[in-house]
Amino acid sequence: MLTNETVEAVIFRAIEALNAERQPSERITPTVDTGLFGADALLDSLEFVSVITDVETSLNVDHGLDIALADDRAMSRPVSPYTSVATLRDYVLELAGEAS
């Protein structure tokens, strides 16, 4: 059973993995409010795809969940699921609920 905390931890790990490629002054300490993609976000699209890939992989390998985070549904919502850690977490939980 996925919880808010479980999904947040998965996303945090994916963001922290980016820090190895960033200058010390540009490293990210992720919180639920960390902007991911879109206006005021911290990631470029290369980094964002890395996060999405790592999150999908972790959900599959560690939690047996096979979901796609980048599809038509993601772009048809009033608020982008990629806006922040919190919106991505909620999107993951929504897709996980439908898959179970």
Binding site: G35, S45, V49, R77
Partner: protein, 199 residues
Amino acid sequence: MLAPMELRGRHVALRPLTTRDAEMTLRWRLDDRASLLNRGAATVEEQRAWIAARPESEHNFIIELLDGRPVGMLSLIAIDLVHRRAEPARFLIGEPQLVRGVPAAVEAMLLLYRLAFDDLGLHRVYGTVAEENAGMVKWQTFLGMTEEGRLREHYRLDGRVQDAICLGMLEHEYRTVALPRMTALVGAASVDREPAAEQ
């Protein structure tokens, strides 16, 4: 002979690379971010000469934000209209600070794939990435490329020998995998930037 062209998206445009871009593109190529790409020119003059020598069978682009600020470069090379294949290459975001939160890299690649598959009618795109450039391999495979093989000790970069990962994508994979994912990423990144349409 391929005519110079400009490709325009929702966030970025691709315009032809010219010799006036020599200083800027050399700075990008000499940055640490490009350490896993093939080394090229060492001086502005060499870079200018390299740009001037690009054959007309290639499309070499500067990636610009729609306000005209250049942020990177991208090419479609080895275009073969007989075998209907080509190689996306020289992909580099040189101004990472300017593209935070902007789907610049995704949309630039999407524009290049549209050129390859829709405008040129190609059947396949392909390329190689240095093994240590794991982020680029991850990025390309998420966006539709398939790992097709490995060329052993194919590169010598920064004094180290590395394998080359061979990646490829067929037209139907572009339409069923790459295009939906890229469109979703570009579209979702636009949600918070663009005003809602009037009802």
